[in-house]
């Protein structure tokens, strides 16, 4: 048996055995979220989902475009992370609320949204930690949803604000 027919036989054997399982893996793994989220961040998303609705994620590129745009109707952008990180760099037009993992942060969030219509477009971000390990996003989202705000999106920051926003050249403001 020559090499070419052995090779053909081998490929046939491989393709006979693998396709179903490989296709299943491909379907499961080929979704964009799988490439950008780890299993721990999936459990993070599940925790966030416990606020009775699947969270809407926003990619940094999309928010950067909105921030650069001079069009009216920009969403409110809340930073629910840590002050020292916010002071070094934050998204222009974002408001510092404070860590939503702490009672004081939740209190400030409640105060800020008082009087706002429940349809107000709000984007929440932190950027302290890898997505699956951020302690601030889930409680902030849960609080907003529990208070009836339906138009809330979470800025998806995979690793940290430095890497996923600043290093990408997106707009940055510093200080208070």
């Amino acid at each position: 048996m020559n090499q070419s027919s052995m090779g053909t036989l081998f490929c046939h054997a491989m393709f006979k055995e693998i396709p179903i399982y490989a296709l299943a893996v491909f379907i499961v793994l080929a979704s964009p979220q799988a490439f950008t989220q780890t299993s721990s961040s999936k459990s993070q998303a599940r925790a966030v989902e416990s606020a009775s609705a699947a969270p809407q994620l926003m990619q940094p590129a999309e928010l950067a475009e909105i921030v650069r745009s001079t069009k009216r109707g920009r969403p409110l952008i809340f930073n629910v992370g840590y002050r020292i990180l916010y002071l070094q760099a934050h998204i222009p037009y974002s408001e510092y609320i404070g860590p939503a993992s702490e009672p004081e942060g939740i209190q400030r969030l409640r105060q800020r949204i008082q009087g706002l219509p429940h349809t107000q477009s709000i984007v929440v971000y932190c950027g302290c930690c890898p997505w699956g390990k951020c302690p601030n996003i889930p409680p902030a989202y849960k609080e907003l949803r529990n208070l009836g705000f339906s138009n809330v999106r979470l800025l998806y920051i995979a690793d940290n604000f430095g890497k996923d926003w600043v290093d990408k050249g997106y707009p940055v403001a510093k200080g208070e």
Partner: protein, 172 residues
């Protein structure tokens, strides 16, 4: 034909996913050679948790691992016990680890320090200090400073401790 193409793509996808899941973000490589290519670590003077003055330049002649961290940072909490071990192991040979917490509130830092029995100076940093080091926008971040005061490596995110240990040994 289509099935074969899809299968090949699926296999490559699996390989890629497995590779990326186990890929550890590489540190900025420790460059050997001409020391002049390495910048000096910016000096600073702050108070540590016990109220003593902590000035970086006082550690001149030692190998310093400057570690930015915070109590709310999960990877930091994993990393710090390993840093404690390194300090124990190489302290006599000239290693000095310095911890700079970026917590907004010092109270959990004190508690954490006692809980983990951190055996190196810990101080509360601020945005100004973080900016001196190029901005610290994700934690942990560690700078490895040689005996000459120059920065030889920077590690962002949960570090490969064995890599850091090798780097420390090469500088000691």
């Amino acid at each position: 034909m289509k099935t074969k193409v899809l299968t090949a793509v699926a296999i490559l996808t699996v390989i890629a996913v497995i590779a990326t899941r186990h890929w550890r973000r590489p540190a900025e490589p420790m460059r050997s050679g001409n020391a002049a290519t390495h910048p000096y670590a910016p000096d600073f003077s702050i108070h540590d948790l016990s109220g003593q003055t902590l000035q970086l330049s006082r550690y001149g002649g030692k190998v310093v691992l400057l570690n930015f961290w915070a109590t709310w940072c999960a990877p930091c909490r994993i990393e710090i016990p390993r840093l404690v071990d390194l300090q124990n192991k190489y302290g006599r040979e000239g290693l000095q680890i310095v911890g700079i917490s970026l917590d907004d509130d010092p109270r959990p830092v004190h508690a954490f320090d006692q809980q983990l029995r951190m055996n190196y100076p810990v101080a509360i940093g601020d945005a100004k200090l973080a900016e001196q080091y190029g901005g610290v926008l994700g934690l942990p971040v560690s700078f490895l400073i040689g005996r000459d005061g120059r920065i030889y490596a920077k590690h962002v995110g949960e570090a490969d401790i064995s890599l850091i240990e090798r780097e420390i040994k090469s500088l000691l």
